[in-house]
Subunit: 343 residues, 2 copies
């Protein structure tokens, strides 16, 4: 069973894969995808994955057979397992939680050779629908405090298979960066009775120079303090705390701006390796009893989407400090992406 271990000095949980226990020879990194004879995510190879959890399929097509558009399956090598109770255990000074959670793969299309940028908006909408439905389902389980939905595109961004897919990990804790954001938003709300992210969006609208697109109720900006060159932040302009509450027509509008941004990144930066992450509110059902955390949750958070192109290497400075050097300016990045300038 994997363990969640807490670092009391860094205030951070880490998943230790005690079962897999990679030895030195397992830790060879390469810049190429593993060679595979047949891709387990291709249509027709459904039996190569664990049984599907959710799918959008042609009417009457049986589970785990061809005829799907988006398919969600458990990760074959999960970081956390659905089984354990998630017991919390003190280990001397340290804290441990049994590795309960979920680790799923969202296969975005049956086509091996398309990236999300190439999919039509109405197909991207189906992927977003999968995210929402899996979030809603997993948030019924009070063991899971957060569900992180993310994508690794390209080997250098951590993808191990080329076939377009995203992943989700449900965790029995709220991860550190999310906690920091929630605390910031909560403090702001307590002082001002306004949402911090609504305020930041308003500031970006007033400034203008970092806006990439603003249309159909969504805004895409290069954040003022971007950690990485060409980082993109996308959010609904109107307040909405949780992705679980997003309406179908909102997914429709979101899919259009998302496709536009992904296409611009692809052309301006020549299909860069990148990650994206959906940020949403934690699972209210899992709120610790008697805690004053998340009390004002419906007012003080605002779902958003972050895209991080992987263009620069992260070195000792960043690991040691949590402090980043961005060699580009967000204002210039916004201009390139807005105008679609290609060098």
């Amino acid at each position: 069973m994997p363990e969640l271990r807490y670092d009391p000095l860094q205030h951070r949980w880490v998943i230790i894969a005690t079962e897999r226990g990679a030895r030195p020879s397992d830790l060879q990194d390469t810049t190429k995808y593993n060679h595979i004879e047949h891709c387990p995510f291709d249509e027709g190879n459904e039996s190569s994955t664990p049984p599907e959890i959710w799918a959008i399929r042609e009417p009457n097509s049986p589970h785990n057979s061809p005829g799907w558009k988006v398919r969600v399956v458990p990760n074959k090598y999960p970081a956390l397992n659905i089984g354990p109770e998630g017991k919390r255990i003190g280990v001397g000074y340290y804290d441990m939680i049994e590795g309960t959670g979920a680790h799923e793969v969202i296969i975005e299309t049956p086509r091996h050779d398309l990236s999300m940028a190439d999919l039509p908006p109405d197909h991207i909408k189906l992927v977003l629908l999968a995210y929402r439905e899996r979030l809603r389902d997993l948030y019924k389980d009070p063991r899971f405090k957060y569900v992180l939905i993310f994508k690794n595109h390209g080997k250098r961004a951590g993808a191990s298979l080329a076939h377009p897919h995203s992943q989700l990990i449900a965790t029995p804790i709220v991860p550190r960066n999310i906690s920091i954001k929630l605390d910031a938003a909560k403090q702001h709300y307590e002082r001002k009775e306004r949402c911090l992210i609504c305020d930041l969006i308003q500031q970006e609208i007033n400034t203008g120079s970092r806006i990439i697109f603003s249309e159909n109720g969504f805004i895409a900006v290069a954040p003022y303090a971007s950690r990485f060159p060409f980082e993109v932040f996308i959010a609904p302009v109107n307040h909405n705390c949780s992705f679980t509450a997003v309406a179908d027509e909102e997914l429709d509008r979101f899919s259009h701006i998302l496709k536009k941004i992904l296409l611009r990144l692809k052309s301006v930066l020549q299909d860069p390796p990148h990650n994206f992450v959906l940020n949403t509110s934690p699972n209210i059902e899992a709120k610790p009893k008697f805690s004053d955390q998340w009390v004002t949750l419906n007012y003080d958070y605002h779902w958003h989407f972050e895209i991080i192109p992987r263009l620069v290497r992260i070195a000792g400075f960043e690991w040691g400090s949590g402090f980043y050097i961005n060699p580009s300016t967000p204002e210039m990045a916004a201009q390139y992406l807005r105008e679609g300038k290609i060098e």
Copy 2:
């Protein structure tokens, strides 16, 4: 002038290199070192670097000429500049600091082809002495709240030149990860009047299974909640808050355990790309007036050294969450490094 910009949502400062302003074509990443005809760090090429700040030299050898053992020079492409006053400016909701700071390179040896693991302990001691002397000197400047000393070994760990060197960056703020650690240590001290890191070291001694070496007053462990496989933490067993206060004979003892660990990493993991970071207390002289931060500083922090082999790729999950999945166990890593097991 570079800018330090604050992200109010993530509570994090970022350096934006507004001068360099890397465009898309500047952001090509490769796995090879830049080809250079002559290395600016080699002996005899002293005129290829900015004038030296500090060096250990043969008696009577002139500055910026051959005859040195360790040489410290300004970084030719600094992330922060020594010039600006470091004025703090509000930009709407955002915060900015003029990019004041220092960015220096510690050239560890005149020999291009040796890594730190290959240097004799008495030469490693001279590198550590350079760290201490530069810290002492930069901490005289009340603009600089922290000095981060780190090393990138290998292209995949962010090194751009092969010649063995470390770097330091002096910053007008305390970087986020350091702040988090300082807060944790301060809270622990306030509650218990004991140093958190002293307590953690005691816990490791009691447990035993994560100790790599413990000798001559230093302990090297694989941390309980290691973020990365084969991560190593080294600290003096006896309480010592700041690296500026380390005595020469302590540097001597430290150089021996450091060499031993670097050699073990090199043999067990086949010269892995890695980063290391020195963690020490911030600059007390730069403590904000009337602040209750760092009050108990001499008691509540404990300098330490972290080594991070770069064996796994960091993906969207980690960037989005600050939450890590470690495919190895620290207990196994400690055993491999302790026993020098080579696969």
